[in-house]
């Protein structure tokens, strides 16, 4: 990867958070389940720790720790992803110290529908922000 390095190992029991948006789904999905730009990084971005919706959006630029109604999070663990044969790497940047990358064991392999299905199986029910301030 060109823009950030790998920094340490994430334990199997660590909780990871994925951000989503039920009111503005991308290609019909509130949570992505495949790499958005595999030409940049053939991985899905998550955040380290069990973050609330407010805490998750605070990792984005120009977002105070106040989520909008309809924004949400879902959780998994690094171990659950590894059991499904994904690699989990801690890849922080200065402005997003929680950033985690999830990729296939062979990172060069194209992400398939089966990969997306196995990825989705790793997550519990989403939690949505209700009655946000923005």
């Amino acid at each position: 990867m060109r823009w950030f390095g790998r920094h340490g190992k994430i334990a199997d029991d660590e909780v990871l958070t994925e951000y989503g948006d039920r009111d503005r789904p991308v290609k019909g999905k509130p949570f992505k389940d495949h790499p958005v730009r595999p030409d940049i990084k053939n991985a899905v971005s998550l955040m380290r720790g069990k973050l609330t919706v407010d805490e998750a959006v605070a990792n984005f630029p120009n977002r105070l720790a106040v989520a909008r109604e309809g924004e949400g999070v879902r959780y998994t663990t690094a171990g659950a992803l590894r059991e499904q044969e994904f690699r989990v790497e801690y890849t922080p940047s200065e402005w997003n110290p929680s950033h985690v990358s999830v990729e296939n064991l062979d990172a060069r392999r194209e992400w398939t529908d089966d990969d997306s299905a196995r990825f989705n199986e790793c997550f519990g029910e989403p939690e949505w922000k209700e009655g946000g301030d923005e």
């Binding site: 958005v36 630029p61 997003n96």
Partner: protein, 146 residues
């Protein structure tokens, strides 16, 4: 030369012209969301202001000095980075742009705000809305003339 970045419609927001190259990515979540771009020996910050994980998003670009670049690169704390970027966008005119599906669609210059002026995201949104209304009016006029 203008102090505004040169953008190409259709370009990726984090590499907004063929003459622009990424100097540093400071925030990445599926795509680069904030950082520094170099173009024609000048440096610019770029920042996704809204729609970070959505199909359409709002971006800001502002020229910075080499001293400001060094200050940004020295900063390790995300809140300090946010303060720096917001302070830069509030202290000068900048370019706002809308991207759809990772391609720039429309851009507008945001004039320097008063210290008590709106947040950069509001100023950017207003400038883009005004530009879109102008484009619609021109298109309507052109349709009348045809």
């Amino acid at each position: 030369m203008s102090d505004q970045i040169h953008l190409r419609i259709g370009a990726e927001p984090w590499r907004p012209a063929d003459t622009a190259k990424i100097d540093k990515v400071l925030n990445h979540y599926d795509i680069p969301l904030a950082g520094i771009i170099q173009q024609h020996r000048r440096y610019y910050i770029f920042e996704c202001l809204d729609g970070h994980a959505n199909e359409s998003n709002l971006w800001a670009y502002a020229e910075i000095t080499r001293q400001e670049r060094r200050q940004i690169l020295r900063t390790r704390d995300k809140q300090e980075l946010q303060k720096l970027f917001t302070s830069i966008l509030k202290s000068r005119s900048f370019t706002a742009a809308v991207a759809i599906d990772h391609g720039l669609e429309m851009a507008a210059v945001v004039e320097r705000q008063r210290d008590t002026g709106p947040a950069p995201v509001k100023a950017a949104s207003k400038a883009i809305t005004r530009k879109a209304e102008t484009v619609r009016a021109v298109n309507a006029l052109a349709a009348c003339c045809n």
